[in-house]
């Protein structure tokens, strides 16, 4: 068996999230160097604040300012910071109960080493120079030897409140398509199309995924299909896609399901070399490759007579 293919895969998205009134006040507060908690019905102050009481599910809206100083309730020394974490130098993860709060906030603590950190130690907020209304407006906490700060009694009303955040997320993978799809992709590099036949129902799957979805059994027998095939159904595309891969394609064009000879199901492909309004079900086509391409650019008519409907009706 040849080695499976592998390639880097990056999944990245700027998640845009709207904020509720309590979250909005808290994050706007951070922008203004004010830390707000929310008061529960039984008089506790939750920091960071939430919109519903975690015990009673009662809706919460009674905002109260707490101090930028507090106490470490638990910690963990992070000797090797990872991408996206608050500090690039070794730091302690901490849960900090701010003065005036009854719950703790997760963040980073800048300290010279684990020996300088302990549960119960006093800390204070280090604000970011540029603040946008996000949890990262707190750069980190730092040890605090001086007097505790006093909250100013802010009401939680701000000019230009923050109403949303953009939380960028990126995850890096090494993608491997597995055995069956590796064989399919490797065959394409030789301009051949290879499917796999189910040992039970004998259907040939293209592209193969290693299993027959009807029988639920593994497929392994490779079968070369095509290169010619039959248009089973199609549509006419009249909208020019903004996607860069399609920029060179003039509209209208035809996108079709194509049953390659010997295949048990149809692939997708673009039809070229024929006016769009002359494409029809049963049209016989063959792939057109361009130099350096990893898959056919499009399919064009072979000039053969059209296929009988009965020969492809099961593949529609």
């Amino acid at each position: 068996m040849s080695a499976v293919l592998k390639a880097p895969l990056v999944v990245e998205f700027p998640f845009t999230r709207s904020l509720g009134p309590v979250q909005s006040a808290f994050l706007t507060g951070l922008r203004e160097r004010v830390i707000l908690g929310v008061r529960t019905g039984d008089g506790r102050t939750l920091v960071p604040p939430v919109e519903y009481d975690p015990v009673t599910a009662e809706e919460l809206h009674d905002l109260v300012e707490v101090a930028p100083t507090g106490t470490v309730t638990t910690w963990a020394w992070n000797a090797a910071p990872r991408r996206g974490q608050p500090l690039t130098t070794p730091f302690a993860w901490v849960l900090v109960r701010l003065d005036g709060a009854d719950t703790a906030l997760l963040h980073a603590l800048d300290a010279p080493g684990p020996a300088a950190v302990h549960t119960g130690m006093p800390v204070r907020v280090r604000w970011a120079g540029e603040r946008t209304g996000a949890i990262t407006d707190i750069t980190c906490f730092e040890p605090c030897d001086g007097p505790r700060a006093e909250p100013a009694g802010h009401t939680g009303e701000f000019e230009n409140p923050v109403t949303g955040i953009v939380a960028a997320a990126r995850l890096d993978y090494t993608y491997s398509p597995g055995r069956a799809q590796t064989a399919y992709i490797n065959a394409l590099s030789g301009r051949r199309t290879v499917g796999e036949r189910c040992p039970s129902c004998h259907q040939v799957y293209v592209p193969p995924r290693g299993a027959c979805p009807t029988c639920g059994v593994a497929t392994s027998e490779q079968v070369e299909v095509g290169p010619r095939g039959t248009v089973t159904t199609f549509c006419i595309v009249n909208i020019k896609a903004a996607h860069t891969a399609n920029l060179g394609i003039e509209v209208p064009y035809v996108y079709a399901h194509i049953a390659l000879d010997g295949a048990g199901l149809a692939l997708h492909g673009r039809i070229g070399g024929i006016p769009y309004d002359e494409v029809r079900m049963g049209l016989r086509v063959e792939p057109v490759w361009t130099d350096g391409a990893r898959y056919p650019d499009h399919y064009r008519p072979t000039g053969e007579p059209d296929a009988d409907y009965d020969t492809y009706k099961e593949l529609l």
């Binding site: 068996m1 020394w77 719950t103 939380a167 995850l171 398509p177 597995g178 299993a211 009807t214």
Partner: protein
């Protein structure tokens, strides 16, 4: 609704799992999963067409493949259409859904499976995406860091210390020498601090794997299995998502789930606990009131093999398999999901008296 009504008894009748490995890049997810599906079907003599309901647990974020759970259905034989569902959680919660489906009488048999391929990405980073997206996820606290905060809280409370945690790691991996599927077996160096106070040995191996069980109701279960593992009760509970709201040294959700599942009505002889980090076993033993006479994680637990999204279902499967082979009469199985034991499921399984 927590304990199964007497007139509808439901049992685990078959269990299979892959050998759990650091990487499995020669296989797609369905290629990894299919052998265990075939194994449980073979064990019961059932065909895919005989299964009334299918439910799975997995997460696309692990392998970075969109809609991977729909592709995995190829391995089940999903055409012609079957009755099927999926949870974006550990397969233990898929089993809970299947159990409720059987309770209603809509189905007599169910196939439950779960799989996770952690090798294509960085599971420590991937798991940050399940955290509160407003206040926590932007800081990217990885799964080891959050478990380390819980471990330090336990040390501060006097509930454990680093040598005791090392002993938990050692005991689990020694037990795993009897488990041919485990990824880490026998003596494993405790290693350096990964995130202090947790060392490499306190953390689960990162790996790929899959598991499947078959559930059946009443006499159907007796036909399919010589000694069915009857689910006497199953319940799951969740705690506040804010880590700073919770007491990390305790697991009230586990305790409540166990109580509702009937775990405290009579002693259990076996407990399969889903504790990926050593310190979490300390929390769970306390919450579940497990004494020294209970055989905890005879499989080696998640410290020996932790295919994310399948490791909880494997706890139920391992507990059931001990009942099937007569090594246990009453076993507790626990599954967790989320950071620092946020969500917990407890099942109580029993074999018929011998």
């Amino acid at each position: 609704m927590t304990s199964a009504p007497r007139d509808r008894e439901i049992a685990v009748v078959a269990f299979a799992q892959t050998d759990h490995r650091r990487t499995s890049d020669e296989f797609s997810e369905v290629e990894m999963l299919m052998p265990v599906l075939h194994e449980v079907l073979h064990a019961t003599g059932l065909k895919t067409a005989d299964i009334d309901f299918t439910c799975s647990g997995s997460s696309d974020y692990l392998a970075g493949r969109a809609f991977s759970f729909t592709l995995a259905l190829d391995g089940v034989g999903a055409w012609p259409p079957i009755s099927e569902s999926h949870v974006e959680m550990d397969g233990a919660w898929a089993l809970y859904e299947a159990w409720t489906k059987l309770l209603t009488g809509d189905a007599d048999t169910a196939l439950v499976y779960a799989y996770g391929k952690s090798s294509p990405g960085s599971v420590r980073d991937v798991l940050t995406r399940q955290l509160d997206p407003y206040y926590v996820a932007p800081l990217w606290p990885d799964s080891v860091a959050l478990a380390a905060l819980q471990a330090q809280a336990l040390i501060d409370a006097g509930d454990t210390d680093e040598p005791a945690l090392a002993a938990i790691a050692s005991r689990n991996r020694a037990a795993a020498t009897g488990n041919p599927h485990a990824q880490l077996r026998g003596p494993v160096p405790q290693g350096d601090h990964l995130v202090q106070p947790l060392r490499t040995g306190d953390c689960p191996p990162i790996g790929d794997g899959a598991a499947a069980v078959i559930l059946a109701a009443g006499d159907r279960a007796r036909e399919l299995c010589a000694r069915p593992a009857w689910i006497r009760g199953i319940d799951h509970r969740i705690e506040a998502h804010g880590l700073g709201v919770r007491d990390l040294t305790d697991s009230p959700s586990t305790r409540l789930a166990a109580e509702r599942a009937g775990a405290f009505e009579r002693p259990v002889d076996t407990a399969e606990l889903h504790a990926p980090f050593t310190a979490q076993e300390v929390v769970l033993r306390k919450a579940l009131r497990l004494g020294e006479d209970v055989d905890v994680n005879p499989s080696g637990g998640a410290l020996a093999a932790n295919p994310v999204m399948a490791a909880g279902l494997i706890r139920i499967g391992e507990a059931a398999a001990r009942i099937h082979r007569g090594a246990s009469d009453r076993a507790l199985a626990h599954a967790t999901s989320g950071p620092c034991l946020q969500q917990n499921l407890v099942a109580v399984l029993e074999g018929e008296p011998r």
